[in-house]
């Protein structure tokens, strides 16, 4: 009898502030001024949506791959440390992870701006005569997003790597495998569930990015999240915004389902089912 009472507040909160808002998105996307299919028609006919949706997917994919590439060796390093010292190295990754996304994005605007640190150093070093344009380029968006998501990649990978038996890679070495073969045929396959989990998680998180593309990418490098905001706040077109929100949500759900299918539950929750 106690259990339903204990979850009642949560269910009430989620009903009003999570489920009903979602139903409202469904309702509005299927009941605009142009009838039930107004939202869908807008999605099909808008070239802006097509371009931005593809760009969002592409951005999420490249950011995911860059984070994995940069994060894997760093995670190997942390996992290779004795357990008692791991905390110090993890703290160095947790520190930026705990800092506001807005603040971290803002600092990149200061570094990459016309009078920013990067341009000042380039001119001071004599590598450039005049300020280069770094803001509002794909480079700026990628730098900002990678800096924000890299800790997620490293923390996920370290979680998987520390649960592995290091004896197996050592056994391969003892049996005569070169370090490269031991890594490629033993260590890497063992970390594969972690890589897949990290990749899906990074992809899901990058899909919804709003702040970083808005500040560092400007109007020419919008994501779906930026376009939703634009449709609501500038165009006052709720139907198309809702339709896009549904597409974004559907993409996220597909990624989550894929993740659950590809990775056993154990890897995701660290052993506690």
């Amino acid at each position: 009898m106690v259990a339903p009472l204990l979850v009642a507040p949560l269910l009430l909160l989620f009903a009003i502030f999570f489920v009903v808002p979602f139903v409202e998105i469904m309702r509005i996307s299927f009941s605009g001024q142009g009838g039930a299919l107004a939202g869908a028609t807008w999605l099909m006919s808008s070239s802006l949506f097509a371009v931005i949706f593809l760009n969002t997917l592409k951005l999420a994919l490249t950011v995911t791959l860059i984070c994995l590439g940069l994060g894997y060796p760093a995670a190997c390093f942390i996992a290779g440390q004795p357990a008692s010292q791991r905390g110090i190295y993890l703290a160095l990754v947790l520190l930026p992870f705990w800092t506001s996304v807005l603040v971290r994005t803002y600092t990149w605007a200061l570094v990459l701006g016309r009078e920013g640190l990067l341009n000042a150093s380039l001119i001071w070093l004599g590598l450039s005569d005049e300020p280069q344009r770094f803001m509002f380029t794909p480079l700026a968006v990628h730098l900002g997003m990678v800096q924000i998501l890299l800790p997620v990649a490293i923390l996920t990978l370290v979680g998987v790597m520390t649960e592995l038996d290091p004896g197996l890679a050592r056994a391969a070495r003892v049996l005569g495998a070169s370090p490269w073969r031991a890594f490629w045929h033993v260590y890497l396959p063992m970390t594969k569930p972690g890589i897949v989990a990290a990749a899906m998680l990074l992809f899901i998180l990058s899909l919804g990015f709003y702040i970083t593309p808005a500040l560092l990418g400007g109007p020419r490098h919008r994501t779906i999240a930026n376009l939703i905001d634009l449709q609501v706040h500038q165009m006052n077109d709720w139907t198309s915004a809702s339709a896009m929100a549904l597409v974004l949500l559907a993409t996220t759900i597909v990624a989550v389902v894929l993740l659950r299918w590809l990775v056993p539950d154990r890897t995701l929750h660290g052993g506690a089912g």
């Binding site: 106690v2 259990a3 339903p4 204990l6 979850v7 507040p9 949560l10 909160l13 989620f14 009003i16 502030f17 808002p21 979602f22 409202e24 998105i25 509005i28 994060g71 060796p73 760093a74 190997c76 390093f77 290779g80 703290a91 160095l92 990754v93 520190l95 930026p96 705990w98 800092t99 506001s100 807005l102 603040v103 971290r104 803002y106 600092t107 990149w108 605007a109 200061l110 920013g116 000042a120 800096q147 890299l150 370090p179 490269w180 899901i204 919804g208 709003y210 702040i211 500040l215 999240a225 939703i228 905001d229 609501v232 915004a241 929100a245 974004l248 949500l249 996220t252 989550v256 506690a272």
Partner: protein
């Protein structure tokens, strides 16, 4: 390639990554103490000018105060709702507990722009926008999952026989919770509180959609960024970073204290 060389290579790689991750934050500190209006590096004259603006200018100090107020309210709400739900999910073997756990972490997976849009359109119709209550509950939706994750993980690791022993010795369920379960969960609850506070304190997207003219600190920064790069933003950012560091410190301390106690209890028998 010898293993030693590999280890040195990985170490260097890790150093480079940490530099990349921390560099923008370290760069922020000298900028916030710069006297000049223009954000130039390195600063020529040092001063606390922008911190004075942050704490004395009403539009900035009100925003900071509002953010702290909302953060505290969200934390309290999330702790109550989250701990109760974690207990129901882990201890009371509710039918569909797995599904409930999935639902409770859904707000962390669904892009916040989707949640924000739904809330905005619904609350516009109900005329709930621009209210402190709405903002607090809206933030609680994205803060409570952290408490549930952290507290239910701690509950799973907590030996249930201790609680059962208390019951057998005559304590009622409420006393058992207060005197046995709650003290054991304290580190997890403290860590969950930190997560919940910063989920609210750092939120921009949901606030942007439902707060109307009410300005929290991130929204104040955001509105300023779209006009010009005012050095007050650098000072405000430094304050936010400092607060996050303190929060991380508390959460980590709570976690290691919890681990230490667990280890001691294990070695005691």
């Amino acid at each position: 390639m010898s293993p030693r060389l590999v280890r040195i290579g990985l170490g260097l790689w890790f150093c480079a990554i940490v530099l990349f991750l921390l560099f923008p934050l370290v760069f922020l500190i000298p900028l916030s103490f710069n006297e000049s209006e223009i954000l130039s590096f390195p600063p020529t004259t040092w001063s606390l000018r922008w911190y004075r603006v942050l704490f004395l200018d009403t539009s900035w100090s009100n925003a900071l105060w509002l953010s702290v107020k909302i953060g505290v309210l969200v934390t309290i709400l999330s702790l109550f709702i989250g701990t109760a739900s974690a207990l129901a999910i882990v201890r009371h073997r509710l039918p569909g507990a797995g599904l409930l756990y999935g639902l409770s972490i859904a707000p962390l997976i669904v892009p916040s722009i989707v949640i924000a849009l739904g809330m905005f359109m619904l609350f516009a119709r109900l005329q709930w926008l621009e209210s402190l209550t709405t903002l607090v509950f809206a933030h609680t939706v994205v803060a409570v999952p952290y408490v549930i994750v952290v507290v239910s993980a701690a509950l799973r690791n907590l030996d249930e026989t201790i609680e059962r022993a208390a019951r057998v010795l005559g304590a009622d369920p409420w006393r058992t919770f207060l005197l046995v379960t709650l003290p054991a969960l304290r580190p997890a609850i403290l860590a969950g509180a930190m997560f919940a506070f910063f989920a609210s304190f750092d939120d921009l997207v949901i606030t942007l959609f439902v707060s109307g003219a009410m300005e929290t600190l991130p929204l104040r920064i955001w509105n300023d960024l779209n006009l010009r790069l005012d050095p007050t933003v650098a000072a405000a950012s430094c304050v936010m970073v400092a607060m996050s560091m303190i929060g991380l410190g508390i959460a980590e301390f709570a976690r290691s204290a919890g681990l230490r106690r667990l280890r001691m209890e294990n070695t005691d028998g």
